[in-house]
C-alpha cells in the first residue's frame, strides 16, 4: 500500500473527461469549446475533492491529462489487474469509463456507465455522462442508442449543455421525421442561443424537404433575422436565409425569395449562392437586366463554387433573352471550355483518391501521438482533390470515418511496435535461459563444496565451548597467542628441576617466575570479561551470517527449482501473444482497407456529384449554343429567346 498524499484533485475530473468540442453541427466550431470546458471545470466542488493515494492511479492521470488516452487505458487496466489501485477502486472504474469515452470506445464506456452510474455517482455527473454518451452515439449514427441515453437523463443539465441536449433531442426527432414534436420542443425552448438556432435551422431544412415551405419559412425566418455579432451565428443566419430563399424559388415564389436572399452578407461564404438565387428571382419575373447584375458579379469568382458554375450558363441565357445573341454564344463557349477543364481536374482528383493516398496524407498532416475522440480534422491536405472536398469536413460521416481510420492506423503502429518488442523478449529469454543453463553446473559445484551444515555444527561447538569457558571462568582459554605461549613457557620453567634447588639463586628465579605468572594471570583476569564479550559478539555475528547464508541458499535452491518454470511461463506467454499480435494486425489491416474504401467512396461520391453537375451544365450549354447557331443560320435572331426557353 502506498502511503502518499499528492496533489489534491477534484473527483469530478470525470467531468473533464467529457469536455468535448461542440463540433456537433459545425465540425470546425471552436468558440463553444471554451464555454463547455469552463462550464465543466467551473462545476468542481470542494466536497468532491479527493487525494491521489496510489502512484499508479496518478500515473494514469499523467497520461489522461495529456489526452493520451490509449496509454492511460493500458496502464489503468494493468494496474487493475495487479491490484495496484486499492485506494481508488470505484474512481478508477469511473475514470476507465471516461477514458473509453474520450478514446471513442463508446461500447465499453457504456457498459461501465450502465453498471456504475446508477448508484455510485452524483445525479449531476450521471446525467452529464449519459448526455455525452448520447452525443457520441448520435455522431456515429447509433440513433436508437443515443435516444435511449437521452431518456436516462433525470434532471436539467448546466445551461450550455442543456441547450445542446435540447438540440440533440430536436435533431433526433428531425431524423426520425417527427417534425411536429421537434417544432413543439423548439417552441418551448426559452432563450436564443447557438444550439437552439442550429436546431431550428435543421428543422427548417427538414420541413422544406418534406414540402412544407410555408411552415419552414417561419422557422428559417426566425434564424435568418438574428441580430448577432457572433461570426458563427452570422454564418448560420446566412445559411438559413439562403435555404429559405431557394425553398421559395423552388416553390415558385420568386418575390418571396428576394427578402431572405438579400439578407445574406455579400462577402460571406454563402454570397455566391445568394447572388445566383437573387438573379433567378428577377429572371423568374422576366427582369433579365436586373438578373444580370448579381450574375455578372459572380463572373470572376472561384469556378469551384457551383453557384459560379451555374452563373456561367445563367449570364448567356439572360443575354440571349435580351437579344445579345453573339455575346451569349461567346459566354456559352467559355462556359463549355471552363467546365471541360474543371471536369478534367475532377477526374484527376478521383484517380488520386482511388489510389488511397488521400487518407495517408490526412494522417501525415495530422500526426497525433494518440487518439482522442475530441479531435476533428480541420484542414485537408494540399492536393488536386482537397479543393473539392471541403464541405465533407463538416459531415459526421466523414469526420467519424477519419477518426476510425486514424485509430486503426494507431492500432497497427502499436501492434508493429509490439511485434518487434516480442521478438526481442523471445531473444532475451533465450539468452537468459542459455546463460542459466551454462552457469548452473558451476553454481551447483560451488554449492556442493560449501558445507553449510558443517559450518553450523562448528558454530554450535563454539557456542558450547564458550559456555564452558564462561562457566569455569577459564580466562586462559581467551588468552592471546603470545599470552598463551608465555603461560606455557612459565609453566615449563616451573617444571625445571633446577629451580627446585634450595639455593638463594633458585629462590630468586622462583620468585621472579611467580611474579611473572601472577602478572600474567592478573592481565588475563582483567581482560577476561571484554574478551568473553567480544568472542560472544563475533560468534553471534557468525550465527547471523550463517542464518543469512542459509536463507540465501534456500533462495538459490528455490530459484534453481523455479527458474525453469519461470522460463516456461514466460515462453508460453511470449509464444502465445506473438500469434495474437499477428492475427490482430491482419484484422486491423483488413478493417483499414474497409474503412479506407468507405472513405474513398464518400469522397468519390462527392466528386462524382460535382462532375455530374458539370456534365449537365455542359450539355445545357451545348444545346443552347446549338440552338443559337441554328437560329442564326435560319436568320431568326428575334426568336432566339423563345428557342432558349
Amino acid at each position: 500500500m502506498i502511503a502518499r498524499c499528492c496533489k489534491i484533485l477534484a473527483l469530478s475530473f470525470l467531468l473533464a473527461v467529457f469536455v468535448l468540442p461542440a463540433g456537433y453541427v459545425a465540425a470546425d466550431d471552436k468558440s463553444d469549446l471554451t464555454v463547455v470546458k469552463d462550464a465543466h471545470f467551473g462545476s468542481d466542488k470542494k466536497s468532491n475533492l479527493t487525494v491521489v493515494k496510489d502512484a499508479h492511479f496518478g500515473e494514469v492521470l499523467f497520461y489522461f491529462y495529456q489526452e493520451d488516452y490509449f496509454p492511460a487505458i493500458v496502464r489503468l487496466l494493468a494496474a487493475q489487474k495487479q491490484t495496484q489501485l486499492e485506494n481508488h477502486s470505484d474512481e478508477s472504474e469511473l475514470l476507465l469509463g471516461g477514458l473509453y469515452l474520450s478514446y471513442g470506445h463508446h461500447q465499453r464506456a457504456a457498459e461501465i456507465f450502465e453498471r456504475l452510474l446508477a448508484d455510485k455517482v452524483e445525479p449531476e455527473i450521471r446525467d452529464r455522462t449519459w448526455f455525452f454518451l448520447a452525443k457520441i452515439w448520435y455522431q456515429r449514427g447509433y440513433l436508437a442508442e443515443a435516444q435511449a441515453a437521452l431518456d436516462k437523463l433525470q434532471n436539467k443539465l448546466d445551461k450550455p449543455l442543456e441547450a445542446e441536449r435540447n438540440m440533440l433531442q430536436a435533431q433526433l426527432l428531425i431524423d426520425n421525421r417527427k417534425h411536429d414534436q421537434a417544432i413543439a420542443l423548439l417552441e418551448d425552448w426559452s432563450g436564443r442561443n447557438v444550439w437552439s438556432n442550429y436546431a431550428k435551422f435543421n428543422l427548417g431544412v427538414a420541413m422544406v424537404r418534406n414540402g412544407d415551405v410555408n411552415g419552414a419559412a417561419s422557422v428559417l425566418n426566425d434564424v435568418g433575422t438574428l441580430r448577432t455579432s457572433n461570426e458563427e451565428l452570422n454564418a448560420l443566419r446566412d445559411k438559413a436565409n439562403l435555404a429559405l430563399g431557394y425553398a421559395y424559388l423552388q416553390d415558385g415564389q420568386p418575390n418571396a425569395a428576394k427578402a431572405p436572399l438579400q439578407r445574406v452578407r455579400l462577402e460571406g461564404p454563402f454570397s455566391n449562392k445568394a447572388l445566383l438565387g437573387f438573379g433567378w428571382a428577377d429572371a423568374e419575373n422576366g427582369n433579365f437586366e436586373r438578373a444580370l447584375v448579381p450574375w455578372m458579379a459572380l463572373r470572376n469568382r472561384d469556378l469551384l463554387d457551383s453557384a459560379v458554375q451555374e452563373s456561367m450558363l445563367a449570364i448567356p441565357y439572360a443575354m440571349a433573352m435580351l437579344d445579345g445573341v453573339s455575346q451569349a454564344a461567346d459566354h456559352y463557349l467559355n462556359a463549355i471550355e471552363a467546365f471541360y477543364e474543371e471536369t478534367n481536374r475532377i477526374d484527376e482528383a478521383i484517380v488520386h483518391i482511388e489510389s488511397g493516398e488521400l487518407l495517408n496524407q490526412f494522417l501525415e498532416q495530422n500526426p497525433q501521438a494518440t487518439t482522442g475522440w475530441y479531435w476533428t480534422l480541420e484542414e485537408l491536405p494540399e492536393g488536386p482533390d482537397s479543393r473539392y472536398l471541403y464541405h465533407l469536413l463538416a459531415t459526421h460521416k466523414f469526420q467519424e470515418g477519419i477518426k476510425n481510420y486514424r485509430d486503426l492506423h494507431y492500432l497497427r503502429r502499436n501492434l508493429d511496435d509490439w511485434q518487434q518488442s516480442v521478438e526481442v523478449f523471445g531473444n532475451m529469454l533465450d539468452t537468459r535461459e542459455y546463460a542459466y543453463n551454462e552457469r548452473l553446473p558451476r553454481i551447483e559445484e560451488s554449492l556442493g563444496q560449501a558445507d553449510l551444515d558443517g559450518m553450523v555444527q562448528r558454530k554450535l561447538e563454539f557456542d558450547a565451548r564458550l559456555n564452558s569457558i564462561e562457566e569455569n571462568r577459564d580466562s586462559l582459554a581467551l588468552a592471546t597467542k603470545r599470552e598463551f605461549d608465555m603461560w606455557g613457557e612459565i609453566a615449563a620453567i616451573e617444571r625445571n628441576p633446577a629451580l627446585q634447588a634450595n639455593v638463594p639463586e633458585a629462590q630468586e628465579v622462583r620468585d621472579k617466575v611467580k611474579l611473572l605468572k601472577g602478572a600474567l594471570q592478573w592481565n588475563l583476569d582483567r581482560e577476561y570479561k571484554s574478551r568473553l564479550w567480544k568472542v560472544r559478539r563475533d560468534l553471534q555475528q557468525t550465527g547471523e551470517a550463517l542464518v543469512e547464508t542459509q536463507r540465501s541458499r534456500r533462495k538459490i535452491d528455490e530459484a534453481i527449482r523455479t527458474e525453469p518454470e519461470l522460463f516456461a511461463d514466460f515462453n508460453t506467454r511470449v509464444n502465445g501473444l506473438s500469434p495474437k499480435i499477428d492475427e490482430l494486425k491482419a484484422r486491423v489491416e483488413l478493417a483499414m482497407d474497409r474503412q479506407s474504401a468507405f472513405m474513398q467512396d464518400i469522397a468519390v461520391e462527392e466528386l462524382t456529384a460535382q462532375k455530374e453537375r458539370l456534365d449537365t451544365y455542359t450539355i445545357q450549354a451545348r444545346f443552347a449554343l446549338a440552338a443559337i447557331y441554328d437560329l442564326s443560320a435560319s436568320g431568326g435572331e428575334a426568336t432566339i429567346g423563345e428557342a432558349s426557353q
Binding site: I2, R4, C6, K7, I8, L9, V52, A55, F57, G58, E59, L61, F62, Q66, V74, A78, G104, H105, H106, Q107, R108, R140, G141, I174, F201, N202, V205, A206, K239, L242, A243, Y246, A247, L249, Q250, G277, W280, E284, S306, Y317, A394, H396, K397, E400, L411, N414, S421, F425, F570, R573, L577, L584, V588, A591, R594, F598, Q620, F623, S644, Q645
Partner: protein, 182 residues
C-alpha cells in the same frame, strides 16, 4: 431553358442543407448502417488491442524488472507556484541512470496531479543512494537548479520512490522531497 436552369436551384438548396443536417431517407439509412458495421468492427478491435496491450505491458515489466529487484521512481508536483519543471537527472549509487526533459504538456499534466514514472531500475537488496537534480524556472522566472539526495534500503519486493516538488510558501521557494513507499 430558364426552367431547366431554375430547376438546378434545388441542388444548391440540398448543398446548403446537407452541410448541417444528416442525409435523410433510405440512402442515409444505408450509409448509416454501413458506417455502423465498420464502427462496430473498430470497437471490437480496440477492445482486443487494448486487452492485448495490457498483457504485453505486464509481460514487459515482469521480464525487464522482476518484482524482487524492481525499483520505480516517480515524479509528482504539488502546487508548483515557485517552480516550473524542465528536466530531472537521476543518479543511483553514483551512476547516471536517466535524464528526462519535460514537454509543456507533460509538465502541465504533473501540475494537474499526474504522477510520472520517470525511471525503472533493477537493484540488489541493500542500501543505495539516490541523487536527483531538478532544473527549471524558479521564483521570478529565474533559471533554477536544485538537488536532493536520499539513501534508501532495497528489501525484497518492488519498491517505489517518489520525488515530490512542493511549494514552501513561507520561504516562497520550491522544495524537493524524496519519499519512499512500500
Amino acid at each position: 431553358m430558364a426552367g431547366a436552369l431554375a430547376q438546378d436551384a434545388p441542388i444548391l438548396v440540398s448543398d446548403v442543407a446537407l452541410e448541417n443536417s444528416q442525409t435523410m431517407g433510405a440512402e442515409a439509412d444505408q450509409a448509416r448502417a454501413e458506417f455502423r458495421s465498420l464502427d462496430e468492427d473498430v470497437q471490437s478491435l480496440k477492445k482486443e488491442v487494448l486487452d492485448l496491450n495490457r498483457d504485453l505491458f505486464l509481460l514487459e515489466e515482469e521480464l525487464l524488472f522482476p518484482a524482487n529487484s524492481q525499483v520505480a521512481f516517480f515524479i509528482s508536483m504539488d502546487v508548483g507556484e515557485y517552480f516550473s519543471l524542465d528536466s530531472v537527472n537521476l543518479k543511483i549509487d553514483g551512476k547516471d541512470v536517466t535524464h528526462y526533459l519535460y514537454t509543456d504538456r507533460e509538465a502541465g499534466a504533473l501540475l494537474r496531479g499526474g504522477v510520472h514514472r520517470v525511471h525503472m531500475e533493477n537493484l540488489k537488496v541493500g542500501d543505495h543512494e539516490l541523487v536527483a537534480v531538478f532544473t527549471g524556472k524558479g521564483p521570478s522566472v529565474r533559471d533554477y537548479r536544485r538537488g536532493a539526495t536520499m539513501s534508501f534500503n532495497k528489501g525484497i519486493g518492488a519498491k517505489y520512490v517518489e520525488l515530490e516538488i512542493t511549494d514552501r510558501i513561507k520561504k516562497q521557494q520550491p522544495e524537493f522531497v524524496i519519499k519512499e513507499w512500500e
